[in-house]
């Protein structure tokens, strides 16, 4: 009897069994946290990549310059082809979507 009375008093504090606003708030914060973690990871990777490139650039530069001269026409063609493919996406190659 006494426990029932206590339980009845406590029942007034009960939230609803399911509160969509609460769930949405939790999931929203979770998504934001994941986004921040992803951004931090990507930023770190970008900074690390930049540092590595900066460190190896003196030894890499002659090779890149040499390759660049020969690859310029190929790169131009590849860029043009990619632009055409992207502009036609959805009409010619629906699988790319």
């Amino acid at each position: 009897m006494t426990d029932d009375r206590l339980k009845a008093l406590f029942a007034a504090d009960e939230p609803p069994a399911f509160d969509p606003a609460f769930s949405a708030a939790v999931i929203g914060k979770l998504a934001r946290r994941r986004l921040l973690v992803d951004l931090a990871g990507l930023s770190g990777a970008a900074v690390l990549g930049g540092l590595i490139l900066w460190a190896v650039w003196p030894s890499l530069e002659p090779l890149v310059s040499h390759l660049g001269e020969g690859m310029a026409p190929v790169a131009a063609c590849a860029t043009l082809a990619a632009a055409v493919l992207l502009s036609l996406e959805g009409r010619v190659t629906p699988r790319l979507r």
Partner: protein, 176 residues
């Protein structure tokens, strides 16, 4: 499929990285966690903030939840630690909070005399005793489950529940 089996399946999926599974765990256990924190904090808005923080912390610690452990006890345990941390960090703001509490007539006015008395009695209990009462008397946790959630010895939980119950009944003018 029993509720325990559903929880286990959802926990496994959440541990594998499924936010959808975790979202279902939030849906299933939000009531228990929010009710527990409302009873331990006394302030519903703070309790709901802590409940949200609880689920966020749980997500990042999913890998620590052992297979077969009570999910609601685990959530409540994280919530209890959040509550204790908030209590410690807010110690300096106590005076300001008391003033805020005094300015909340709407919440108190809607309570019956009996509830107000119980609320006041609950507020006088130490945090761990209050948590034991909130879990075992209000939320039907077993003593063992409460001990697991609060990381307290079983005997301590039993004595906290008995003392808290006696205190509340005394305030309500009932004798055993």
């Amino acid at each position: 499929m029993s509720p325990g089996d559903i929880d286990r399946a959802l926990v496994e999926a959440a541990q594998a990285g499924s936010t959808a599974a975790f979202s279902r765990l939030v849906d299933r256990h939000q009531k228990a966690v929010r009710a527990f924190l409302r009873r331990t904090c006394g302030d519903w808005a703070t309790a709901d903030d802590l409940a949200q923080e609880t689920f966020l912390a749980a997500w990042s610690r999913m890998d620590r939840l052992e297979s077969g452990a009570s999910v609601r006890a685990w959530f409540c345990g994280i919530g209890y630690n959040k509550h204790l941390t908030a209590l410690r960090s807010r110690g300096r703001e106590r005076a300001r909070e008391n003033a805020y509490e005094a300015d909340r007539p709407a919440a108190v006015a809607s309570m019956s005399e009996e509830r107000m008395a119980a609320e006041r009695a609950l507020a006088t209990l130490p945090a761990d005793q209050r948590a034991c009462v909130a879990l075992c008397l209000a939320a039907d946790f077993s003593h063992a489950e409460a001990a697991e959630a609060l990381n307290l010895p079983l005997g301590t939980v039993k004595s906290h529940v008995a003392r808290g119950r006696a205190r509340l009944l005394e305030v309500l003018g009932e004798s055993e």
